[in-house]
């Protein structure tokens, strides 16, 4: 081993450590167990439109201000638990759908942003989706909305839930390939 190699190993080590540290700090938020989430403001929900068409010049949709919710593993796990407890699985099964539409495919009837899903849960939809306003506290609605997005792989795989201790159904959300949402529906 000639001496030239000595410093290249040192550099490689330092570089690797720097990259690792950067990646790891991002995981701080993923693992936070914040059981007492601050109440989300209502305004931001209505700021997200349901239809991409806008008269005049189309303005860019506002950034998902609630993205941090769906990047937190605890929120997604709680969302999956509540999805079963509050009987969402009764109408949507484990994402394949039943009375309600499938949630794990790329078809989104009422918008795929987390704010859209939040609005669908709170307001309900005319063709049979009940309105859970005043029935599910805000923080839990955000958690369920985040979980619904993870069913089609729209949340980071490291935060998405893995399988439950129940009957094997679809592959776990963390191994679902990301399916770009499409807003076309017959």
């Amino acid at each position: 081993m000639s001496s030239r190699c000595h410093d290249c190993v040192g550099v490689a080590l330092a570089l690797g450590l720097a990259v690792a540290m950067a990646a790891l700090t991002a995981s701080c938020e993923r693992e936070e167990r914040d059981t007492k989430a601050p109440p989300e403001s209502q305004i931001s929900v209505s700021s997200v439109a349901l239809s991409p068409l806008q008269p005049g010049e189309a303005s860019a949709p506002p950034g998902g201000s609630h993205r941090s919710i769906e990047e937190n593993a605890f929120n997604l796990a709680q969302g999956k638990q509540l999805y079963t407890w509050f009987n969402c699985s009764g109408c949507h099964a484990h994402g394949g759908g039943d009375i309600g539409p499938a949630l794990m495919d790329d078809q989104w009837l009422y918008g795929s942003e987390i704010e859209n899903v939040y609005a669908t849960i709170v307001q309900g939809r005319p063709n049979g989706m009940p309105s859970f306003r005043n029935r599910i506290p805000d923080q839990q609605v955000w958690q369920i909305a985040a979980y619904v997005r993870s069913m089609s792989g729209l949340t980071p795989a490291t935060a998405s839930p893995s399988r439950s201790d129940e009957m094997q159904n679809k592959p776990a959300e963390q191994s679902m390939p990301r399916q770009e949402p499409k807003d076309t529906h017959p």
Binding site: E31, R33, L76, K80, T158, S162, R163, D165, A172
Partner: protein
């Protein structure tokens, strides 16, 4: 390059040690053959068991201090009822990290570290077997420890207990990557432990000094040999179960999924099948320390050598037969439980015999109350109490009341701190001169001992009563008015005392390293071979391989050890002897320092950490590991002239 070696008439150019080379000349040549290259490169690629051993001990003690601080924070949180110092989530991380670090990153590694350093010296050989594997083991251990503590710093520290029972640690109830880091750490530390145990077994069985037949092996070395065999059989169980846990969590297998035919108790069986032998893996080396210290400070050979060795075997074998006493509360059939009650009770007999032999040795000698002996006496006082409370735990009805309560916390601290840390501290005071060439300060040692002894009992004795009065383990707080408040406060005061005593110890070590009294090669007038080398020993340990004719070579040959000569001086090689009678057999070349163990450890770390986040990392990560290991085992140029027989 070497100066022309003096040739032996009738032989080609082979330079070997022997009477024809002066001591200084032999030292100079051997030093140049065995020394580690200077600088960072040398530091990173050393295969000298003494450098790796010192590093291992230092790293283990760093983790010991870190875990100790966590314990102190836990005690401060529990000092008063409904305390708000730390949140529930943080506390769960604290006790998991405390348990995991103490068991996986301190206790087993530090015992193995002492083995790495001392066993080659005590059996009279120049190097540990598979020295590059030894370096690899250290790096894997270090990177595992760093991974866990970096994860803890980044709030991904495991929070499911050091035992990580499923389904709490399973895919559904432990979101995120916390439990995965715990499971992967287990893989790191078990690889390191398995590697060291293989080295120790081969070193003890094949590289003993001529004449050191089985009945002359020092009891410390017996302890390490038996422990290494226990490691071989125990560690794979936890490695397998932690890998099964990661596969359940990441790939969606159903090993522990009760719905699809898995079973939560499968985890407990596989974990405790490792778990209980683990605590004996920690305890048996400590008995080795005690069996080394007591004869030296009682100034007489150990009493009941054979009884002690047989007790080691009995403990090791019985140790594998009683893991279900951790699971008496899971309602397994009573007949099965009664077998484990019997086994758990029986293992007290070999321990009883060991205690008797040590006290008998003291009885027969005239004890000299230096710090190592103080710690050994502390060990007997504390460990025996812990062992007796262990017999209570062996009984199913009693265990149902005290299992998972603070009574058990008290029990295992009495047998682990009492059984391992007391002898370990004694061993540090005893072997510090050999490792560093300087003595630790005796007065500071005695203050350290008394503070440690009082602090320990103040902390853990009340916990017996806390457990009987109903306080369960791993609670981040407790309600007032149940009669637990004063005892918890006492425990916290004791913990602070322990912390003070350990600070004194750290100061003592720090100061003595530079200004400690110089120690000769045998400051305690001990009898085992490591005291026949200078302090600290030269890179090649022994100028000439000694010949042994009894238990206590230095006491039986006060005027210098007979030696055997003929090993090369310009080639790294050791003398292999037969397993039973240690008859000289063949000379084995020893590998040169190499960077590849480090690189292999780095690539393995990359693969293991990567496989927490994606199963593909196992596939792609294994390529750099294969490359590094291939380079590691790439055959070097063979020694010039193979020399089968010693003349």
């Amino acid at each position: 390059m070497n100066r022309m070696p003096r040739t032996v008439p009738g032989r080609e150019e082979i330079a070997r040690d022997g009477p024809w080379l002066s001591e200084a000349e032999t030292h100079r040549r051997l030093e140049r053959t065995w020394e580690t290259p200077p600088g960072l490169w040398g530091w990173l690629s050393t295969v000298d068991h003494k450098m790796v051993g010192r590093r291992y001990i230092a790293t283990a003690f760093v983790f010991f201090v870190l875990a100790g601080i966590l314990a102190l924070v836990m005690r401060l949180q529990l000092a008063s009822p409904e305390n708000g110092l730390v949140s529930a989530d943080r506390y769960n991380q604290l006790f998991t990290m405390h348990g995991t670090t103490m068991m996986f990153l301190f206790a087993v590694p530090v015992m193995e570290a002492f083995a790495i350093y001392l066993v080659p010296l005590m059996v009279g050989t120049r190097s540990i077997a598979f020295p590059r594997l030894n370096a690899f083991s250290y790096w894997v251990y270090l990177f595992g420890g760093i991974m866990l503590w970096v994860a803890f710093a980044l709030n991904i520290g495991p929070d499911v207990g050091w035992f990580a029972y499923v389904p709490l640690a399973g895919p559904q109830y432990a979101p995120g990557k916390r439990a995965d880091f715990w499971a992967q750490l287990v893989t790191f530390t078990e690889i390191a432990a398995l590697a060291v145990s293989v080295e120790i077994i081969v070193t003890v069985l094949k590289q003993r000094a001529p004449g050191m037949s089985l009945n002359r092996i020092p009891i410390f070395v017996w302890g390490q040999l038996v422990t290494s065999f226990m490691v071989l059989f125990a560690m794979p169980s936890v490695m397998l179960s932690s890998s099964m846990l990661i596969m359940d969590r990441l790939v969606g297998t159903h090993f522990f999924n009760k719905a699809e035919g898995g079973d939560a108790l499968l985890w407990q069986h596989m974990f405790w099948f490792f778990g209980h032998p683990e605590v004996y893996i920690i305890f048996l080396p400590a008995t080795g320390f005690v069996s080394s210290i007591i004869p030296v400070f009682a100034r007489r050979p150990i009493f009941g050598y054979t009884a002690l060795v047989l007790a080691l075997f009995a403990t090791a074998i019985l140790g594998f037969g009683l893991w279900v006493h951790h699971m008496f509360a899971t309602n397994l059939p009573h007949l099965g439980n009664s077998f484990y009650t019997a086994a758990s009770m029986t293992i007290a007999i070999p321990s009883g015999i060991q205690i008797f032999c040590w006290i008998a040795t003291l009885w027969g000698g005239s004890p000299r109350f230096a710090t190592p002996l103080l710690f050994t006496i502390g060990f007997i006082v504390v460990f025996v109490l812990g062992g007796l409370s262990g017999i209570m735990l062996a009984s199913v009805p009693l265990d149902l009341q005290v299992h998972d309560t603070y009574f058990v916390v008290a029990h295992f601290h009495y047998v682990l701190i009492g059984g391992a840390v007391f002898p370990l501290l004694g061993a540090v005071y005893y072997w510090f001169p050999k490792l560093t060439g300087r003595m630790l300060n005796e007065l500071a040692g005695k203050v350290h001992f008394w503070l440690f002894f009082i602090g320990f009992n103040l902390t853990f004795f009340p916990m017996h009563l806390l457990g009987l009065e109903g306080m369960p383990r791993r609670v981040y707080t407790y309600p007032p008015g149940l009669g637990w408040d004063t005892m918890n406060l006492t425990a916290t005061v004791g913990a602070v005392t322990l912390f003070v005593s350990l600070s004194i110890f750290a100061a003592n070590v720090g100061v003595s390293l530079f200004r400690g009294q110089r120690a000769g090669s045998n400051p305690w007038d001990a009898s085992t071979l490591e005291w026949a080398t200078p302090s600290p020993p030269a890179s090649y340990n022994f100028a000439h391989i000694p010949v042994v004719s009894g238990h206590d070579p230095l006491w039986e040959e006060p005027d210098g050890l007979p030696v055997v000569s003929g090993l090369r001086v310009n080639q790294r090689e050791v003398l292999l002897t037969t397993a039973v009678d240690a008859e000289p057999d063949v000379r084995e070349p020893v590998p040169q320092p190499s960077i590849w163990p480090l690189i292999s450890a780095l690539t393995l770390t990359g693969m293991l950490i990567g496989s927490i986040f994606t199963p593909w990392a196992v596939l792609w990560g294994s390529i750099p590991v294969a490359v590094a290991v291939t380079a590691w085992f790439w055959p070097k140029s063979p020694p010039e002239t193979p020399e089968p027989v010693i003349d």
